[in-house]
Amino acid sequence: MADRAAAGLRAAPRAVPASAAGPRGRVEFRDVFLAYEGHDEFAVEAISLAIEPGEFVAIVGPSGCGKSTFMKLASGLKPATRGEVVVDGQRVGGPLKIVGMAFQAPTLLPWRTTLDNVLLPLEIVEPYRSSFRRERVAYAARARALLATVGLAGYEQEFPWQLSGGMQQRASICRALVHEPEMLLLDEPFGALDAFTREELWCVLRDLWQAQRFTVILVTHDLREAVFLADTVYVMSRRPGRVVARRAVDLPRPRDLDVTYTDAFSGIVHELRDRIGAIRRT
């Protein structure tokens, strides 16, 4: 808890004390299948795994393996066809309100300033929604603090289209985090960025997570990204997507970018690479 306070993101008091119900954000998949409407084949099948509160999980696999479907299941946007998804002991029946999401496209609203874009979730999600007018100044201060931690101080009043791609993605991540979700779902958030910006944003995400310890599910096709950021990497097979491997990443934290040049790091990346290669050959 101490590092949460230190993160400087807690300008407004936390509305739901996390300590009351113990740490939250535990996700469990129990033999989950999902078929999209009009398709006989399952998009994902027989997925069973458990994600602990505060765990950083990465899902990797060849393209079209149902990684994004996995996200939709975890967030409750798509109901499981068979099996069940359980979050904090509750079976998921509809969209969860404790998640924040960010995608490859930043999907910021072009008519809102960066600050107003980040404030959007607070205008929608309870308990902030009902107090939004009264607490606007405090919330804006929180959003500014969050923007500052990702290096966007001074850009609050710019419009998204005046920012670079990397800056837009930072703002998008801020938007996903401003309502202090228990769970952050990221669907290839850095996929459209150049290599330097991507590594910069890895560190931004690492620091945010280190400070706040929400649960993260990161879907990516970048193995280095997965190994650098995650505690556990799951490898999915081609459609119908199954989890074919689970690899704990035991590299010490906090991790510096230099770790990506160590043998231990390369070893894990190679191991995952081989697994995916094996899937692609079949």
């Binding site: 939709k72 309100k97 072009p110 008519w111 929608i124 005046q162």
Partner: protein
């Protein structure tokens, strides 16, 4: 872009118009074209000056008739666009009917309106309305219906209601579409008014042109055409300016960004 080429760009439409007018005048004089067939620009200007009073009266009548029809068109267009675009069911239910309705020539509808409402202003207003609301509906509906799926996921995962999505994203997003449609709609509204006035009215520019044509006063007919053209162009520019001011974010390519 250098200042010189920018100035050239701004002057280009005026230069082209002047060239066309001079060529027109030259053709009329050179081939001695009769004024009853195809009047020269100078003859048209002379008619404009000679009949300035009556033309102004008829133009004013046409103008406010058009604006009345346009206002109804905007109100109905917005409402229908809202209904059509806000749900997939209404979209698939209403859209084909609207397309069918739009392909009926509105000029063919004027006699029906005359039977219902008599000769005069009301059929003209209604024709202007009927002809101009369709592009507004289509644009507003399109703006509402083409929401990015990822954005919808973000909002739904926050527990946003359909109303939230509509007011926070749908409406602001469809504004540029709406303003773009206004530019098209206002010129169409002028068409509607004039068509109806030509067939079933005792005043307005359409009526003026009709009666001037039947007495072979071609310069006056062309003067009427010119007046309508200028009015429609001015209104188009007005809405184009409104569009640029209100939705700068959608025109960032041209802006200083």
């Amino acid at each position: 872009m250098t200042p010189l080429s920018r100035r050239a760009e701004r002057a280009a439409p005026w230069i082209l118009a002047a060239v066309i007018l001079v060529a027109w005048e030259a053709v009329c004089r050179g081939f001695r074209v009769s004024e009853f067939i195809f009047p020269a620009p100078t003859a048209i200007v002379a008619a404009l000056v000679e009949f300035a009073g009556p033309i102004a009266g008829h133009a004013w009548k046409t103008f406010w008739t058009t604006m009345a029809g346009f206002a109804i068109g905007v109100a109905v267009g917005l409402l229908l666009g809202f209904v059509v675009g806000s749900s997939r069911v209404t979209y698939s239910a209403v859209y084909p009917l609207l397309v069918g309705f739009n392909s009926v020539p509105k000029a063919a509808f004027v006699p029906v309106l005359v039977v219902w409402f008599g000769i005069g202003t009301i059929p003209a207003i209604l024709t202007a309305f009927l002809i101009c609301f369709f592009p507004i509906v289509v644009n507003v509906a399109t703006g509402l219906a083409t929401l990015e799926p990822e954005l919808e996921d973000v909002l739904r995962s926050l527990g946003a209601t359909r109303r939230d999505v509509l007011f926070k994203v749908g409406l602001p997003r469809s504004l540029p579409f709406f303003f773009a449609s206004l530019k098209v709609a206002i010129t169409l509204a002028f068409v509607g008014t004039v068509v109806s006035e030509t067939v079933a009215s005792n005043d307005g520019i359409g009526y003026l042109m009709m009666s001037a044509g039947s007495s072979m006063r071609m310069p006056l007919v062309f003067a009427g055409l010119a007046v309508i053209g200028v009015m429609a162009m001015l209104m188009y520019e007005l809405f184009a300016a409104v569009e640029r001011r209100t939705t700068a974010w959608a025109h960032r390519g041209q802006a200083a960004a």
